[in-house]
Symmetry: none
Subunit: 172 residues, 4 copies
DNA sequence: AATGAATGAGGTTTCATTCAT
DNA sequence: TATGAATGAAACCTCATTCAT
């Protein structure tokens, strides 16, 4: 899975063959099929595994208060996680428009996203924002946008400063 | 090209075959190769064509003033164009992490992006923003992020309201 | 035809496409088919044209005497002609084992070869050679062998000296 | 490989398709690519294998004496081997003018040829031949020429008698 | 747990040839 | 005389997948 993650991130899912994965992992093609039913099942496990890391972190905060400090922490932690799992995020974003793959993880994706969505809605509602749901949508879009630009060009994108600016702008 | 644009947007570049394009366009596979040297050359022309539309619109404003009104107009026009060319943008975003394809259009992409970048840098600098370049970077990421979310789910994403909010937040 | 001759010699018959010939000749593919029924018809005309040059030279000597001086002249002229028409000979030798092509020119080839064969048979018979027909066969093989080696590596093969040696050895 | 050898000899390399080879060998096209990276790699292995047979025979005699008897034996063995491997030699001669293929085996060809060349040079030098290197070149050309004519028409070419004549003429 | 031989469908590309103009 | 749009068959090659061992 580690090798597959790497290859998928570097070359894209469709462009990476089972043969190549087996070769780089120094195992046989057949062995892969002992553990994964298909190539799709492989990417599915990779993606779900990636989301889990994210979800786990969030469940930490599930029933507690989500105030200014938590907002702060949330944004920063998001990008810390992204930096730690660059490959996963690259894959995820590159598959955003591949309906056949997205369908595979739709359920898990929703389950991961919904709580975040409602927590943020609440957050902005509590702060009397005129249209909290729109702001939440924009905010999530911003996170992906920043991720997209960072992952496209990690060496030049000023991630830390941008993140600080995001916090400042969207905290309230 | 129209058929290809459609298919690439719907299924992704790698998942769409020349055979399928030919079939939908009701021509022979061979004919495609009379006009495009390869599948890569085809996507290249599609991408460059798409950027051109964007660039043309921008050159309009090249040497003139870029003030508050123009900023307004720029954001709105960006998403008007995106709505008109949804397929193109879907392709573009889905290829953001396919280095072999990006390389094909690197030059054109840079040529399209650089002037926008410097105009925005100036814009924020004139308004005494403490770090105009970081803000420009964030702003461009936001545009892509909003685009990504809109294109992922055009029916539910509240594009117009989000755009208004973007203008309000990033105008200054 | 000139362009085709060149390409066939350089890349081989099967490896050279009508499209490429047309391109190098700066005409359209269609035009080629106005003058030649097929690719096979094209190579056929090229080959026959090449043999004709050879035959013409031989008819010169047809009914006359073929003595020591003529033998001398024959060998030298053979290689002079080969040097002048390197491309043609390269094609001819490269097709020696392509039965489908050889069949196209079998008749012409025989017509060109038979008189030479009988003249040489006579030549050796007159000189009381024990097995003139075997010697003729060997001699013709030698001519082709020398041609093969020369055309394979024109810059390093010492053609002139080899030819002199051939004359000395096979004159009698 | 056996099937490929056969087809290449009968129809030429370019005219024989992987599909046809697979069909005659009663295996799938794909399987061929499990063992050979490409069609070129296939012909390369075939050619190298063919030369090896020749080289092996020669290494036998490498450091020993190469006198009149060995010369005799060499010529006769050459054509014995050729008769046993007609297909290989047909392929080899038919590719003599296909530069892209020759390049694949250039190294191996040189390694096979060089020792023969120097042994023959020595042979003629020891016999005080005025220009031993030219004679060697001619002699090798003769071998190929005889092979060419024999393989072009095995049923009618008087190989044994021609070989005897070659030995007699070139022994000294 | 692990291999690698084997396949069949389908991918991109090439190409001789036709034909309306 | 000349073009170039168009085709269909076939070329080389890739790949997910299966299966006997």
């Amino acid at each position: 899975m580690q090798v597959a993650l790497n290859l998928f991130a570097k070359q894209g899912y469709t462009n990476s063959s089972i043969a190549q994965i087996a070769k780089e992992a120094k195992i046989s093609k057949g062995l892969i099929y002992n553990y994964f039913e298909s190539k799709d099942a492989l990417i599915k496990e990779i993606l779900i595994g990636g989301f889990d890391q994210f979800v786990v972190f969030f469940e930490h905060n599930k029933d507690g208060v989500f105030g200014n400090d938590e907002f702060d922490y949330f944004v920063k932690e998001t990008f810390t996680l992204m930096k730690k799992n660059e490959d996963f995020w690259r894959i995820y974003l590159s598959l955003a428009f591949q309906p056949n793959i997205i369908k595979l993880i739709e359920k898990e994706l929703m389950e991961a996203l919904m709580p975040i969505l409602s927590i943020l809605d609440n957050y902005y509602a509590e702060r009397k924002h005129p249209s909290p749901q729109v702001k939440t949508r924009l905010f999530l879009a911003v996170l992906d946008g920043v991720g997209l630009h960072y992952l496209s060009d990690p060496d030049n994108f000023p991630l830390d400063e941008v993140v600080k600016m995001v916090v400042k702008i969207f905290k309230e």
